[in-house]
């Protein structure tokens, strides 16, 4: 397979750089993304290459610069804003849900708002509950948005490029715990197709595990553990939460008869509820056991390291959930 081994972070920078070179209407806005390269170094080197007009440091004003992204998108530009912690989506929620997501529809389809919001979320790094949420389902009930969840470097690269080329508002949830993980990525791709639907990462006959973001990696490790017990799990990356398409998952469940859905969010209101409901609808007659959901508990995430680790799904808890259904 061609390409180079780079980190998730480098994949993000590469996607931004390639698109900013290709399309002069793109620009970045966010806190400390200029000369500092971003608190998570996800914009490293871009200020030096593209200058202050196209890589704009903003004040701490999520409502301000996310709303400004809409103004730019309506007037011929393709802004990409970075929300430093996905948890801050609460600050600019109104701009995203009530203005950005709805503007095209309210105009009767006459305008479009091509913009990208990159929100860096996720736990496991001991930042405490206000800075550790993935927030992947927060905006899932808002029609008009697309929501992409890259689970590794290759997806981070491809999804960000696709999001920038998409003529619609796209929320890309990046996981801070994945920033330093490495993977093979073929850079310099001209045209990237938008991701549609879930993707099978590992084939298996005995159970279907569907997961997002950092939980995908954990599911793959769980599958290795299960394999040593003679259980072959099929691991699926859900990839796109809006528009949600579970056809691949339903198809898999028709073959394995077992479904375990894993997410790094509290159980109530998390996207695995949607997926389970849709798959049960599609493949009801093929289920051998009630589908299981492995999630965070329905209370905030603790800070103390062993507590945080206990609360987040691990390969062990995922494997145990699969075994309990067999």
């Amino acid at each position: 397979m061609s390409g180079e081994d780079i980190t998730y972070r480098e994949a993000i920078v590469a996607a931004l750089r390639e698109e900013m070179r290709r399309d002069p209407t793109t620009l970045l806005m966010g806190e400390d993304i200029g000369a500092s390269g971003g608190p998570f170094k996800t914009c490293q080197g871009l200020y030096e290459e593209f200058g202050a007009a196209r890589v704009r440091d903003t004040p701490i004003s999520e409502t301000g610069f996310v709303g400004a992204a809409l103004g730019l998108a309506l007037t011929g530009y393709r802004p990409i804003v970075e929300v430093m912690f996905a948890d801050f989506l609460g600050v600019c929620f109104d701009q995203i849900a009530n203005s950005i997501a709805k503007h095209r529809f309210m105009s009767g389809g006459r305008v479009k708002a091509p913009l990208v919001i990159r929100a860096i979320g996720g736990g496991g790094l001991r930042f405490g509950t206000q800075h550790s949420q993935t927030c992947e389902s927060w905006l899932m009930s808002v029609p008009g948005l697309k929501i992409f969840c890259p689970s590794g470097p290759e997806q981070a690269y491809l999804m960000l490029k696709a999001a920038i080329c998409d003529d619609n508002p796209v929320l890309v949830i990046e996981h801070k715990g994945l920033l330093s993980t490495k993977g093979r990525v073929e850079l310099g791709q001209e045209r990237v197709e938008p991701p549609t639907g879930a993707q099978i990462l590992r084939n298996g006959r005995d159970a279907t595990i569907v997961a997002s973001l950092a939980m995908v990696g954990k599911a793959l490790i769980a599958a290795e553990q299960l394999a040593s017990d003679g259980i072959e799990a099929e691991v699926i990356d859900i990839r796109v939460l809006r528009p949600l398409d579970v056809a691949v998952v339903s198809d898999s469940v028709r073959r394995t008869n077992i479904l375990v859905a894993v997410e790094e969010q509290a159980k109530t209101g998390g996207w695995t509820g949607n997926v389970v409901a849709d798959v049960v609808s599609d493949a009801f007659d093929f289920l051998d056991a009630p589908p299981a959901r492995v999630t965070l508990p329905d209370h905030p995430l603790a800070y103390s390291p062993h507590l945080e680790d206990m609360m987040i799904p691990s390969p062990e808890t995922i494997a145990a959930a699969v075994k309990a259904l067999l």
Binding site: A247, N257, F284, D285, F286, L287, D288, A289
Partner: protein, 366 residues
């Protein structure tokens, strides 16, 4: 089985029972009129869907009944034993997958559940039971057929006994059809690829619309040989199952686009494979298609399902030598074998339909 109020027209929501033509205890033949219903459109006779006995009348003369409401109970072949067992024991604890496999393979779920108390049966339990049943036959022994197999046996016997069928053959070239299919599939998403059967259904719907005689069904209501002429073009599709076959129906295909036909076909195949045929699939249809697929024979003759008028058997796509303008050429195509009920359709009418169908296929899309 429960005999439900059928949807006799697209707008029908309810009907009034005018009068029962059979009494409790009477034997009924499939296709025989059972009851007269009055809908918003007209008074219509509704026929028995299977051979059997009228066991109970659930709506008396004069009653208003909604579409899908139970009208009567019929005891049909193979059903008696199943009903008795179902009434006597509580619902077995089994997963949806186990129920599906039990339905399709004729495994007695209640007996299996009784042998495995405190456990929810799952697919592998049913498969094990089925394998064990197959394995334990050392010497020659007699096992009752599954209800599905028994119904098939009864149906094909009845067909051969009562339907004077004749067959017509035609080889049709499929170059144009294949090209149309490939072109459409280039742009299609993976779940929406067209199969050869979709295009054949599309062509057949068009041909049937032009030869509506083939939509008629032969009946001997009240002792007089008659023809029942439906309003819409419906086509049955033979679907192979692990231990038998099912015949779901695609309704109103004349007005459907190719994409809609593909979706109807997929839905029909899915419900056949899940063992979930619906009332619409039991209601009468006159014409069916049986396609044995790319591994099928060059040619075969299908058996007309009782109550129907014709069935089109489709052989595998293969190349053969043909004569064209006095020269030898090679063409890819399929053998169509049309079996038709001679009580209703003569050779000329059948041949004419087959000719139209061949034209629709060879000139598809033009």
């Amino acid at each position: 089985m429960d005999f439900l109020v059928p949807k006799l027209s697209a707008t029908m929501e309810s009907a009034k029972v005018l009068r029962w033509l059979k009494r409790v205890g009477d034997e009924v033949r499939q296709g025989e009129p059972l009851v007269e219903l009055e809908t918003d459109k007209a008074a219509m006779e509704v026929e028995a869907p299977n051979d059997g006995t009228l066991v109970a009348v659930l709506a008396e003369d004069g009653a208003e009944v909604a579409v899908g409401a139970p009208l009567a109970t019929l005891k049909i072949l193979g059903e008696a034993a199943r009903n008795e067992r179902a009434q006597s024991s509580p619902r077995a604890l089994a997963s949806p997958n186990a129920r599906r496999l039990a339905r399709l393979n004729g495994v007695d779920l209640d007996r299996l559940a009784a042998a495995n108390p405190d456990k929810r049966l799952r697919g592998r339990d049913v498969e094990r039971a089925k394998d064990e049943a197959a394995k334990t036959s050392q010497a020659e022994r007699t096992t009752p057929l599954s209800p599905m197999r028994a119904e098939i046996a009864a149906a094909v016997s009845l067909s051969r006994r009562t339907i004077p069928a004749f067959t017509l053959d035609r080889f049709v070239e499929t170059t144009v059809l294949d090209h149309a299919r490939e072109t459409a599939n280039v742009a299609a998403a993976s779940g929406e690829r067209l199969s050869l059967t979709d295009l054949l259904l599309h062509a057949a719907a068009s041909a049937l619309a032009q030869h509506r005689a083939l939509l008629g069904r032969f009946t001997e209501a009240g002792g007089r040989p008659s023809r029942v002429s439906p309003q819409s073009v419906d086509i049955g599709l033979v679907v192979a199952l692990p231990d038998g076959l099912a015949l779901p129906v695609l309704r109103d295909v004349e007005r459907a686009s190719l994409g809609e036909i593909a979706r109807l076909r997929q839905a029909a195949v899915e419900r056949a494979r899940a063992g979930r045929l619906v009332q619409e699939d039991w209601a009468p249809v006159s014409f069916s298609i049986s396609n044995l697929g790319p591994k099928g024979p060059d040619r075969f003759e299908a058996i007309i399902y009782p109550g129907q008028t014709a069935i089109l058997a489709v052989g595998r796509c293969h190349e053969r030598v043909v004569a064209r303008s006095s020269a030898i050429a090679v063409a890819a195509g399929i053998n169509l074998t049309l079996s038709v009920d001679h009580r209703l359709i003569d050779g000329v009418a059948a041949a004419s339909f087959l000719e139209t169908l061949a034209q629709r296929i060879e000139g598809y899309g033009v």
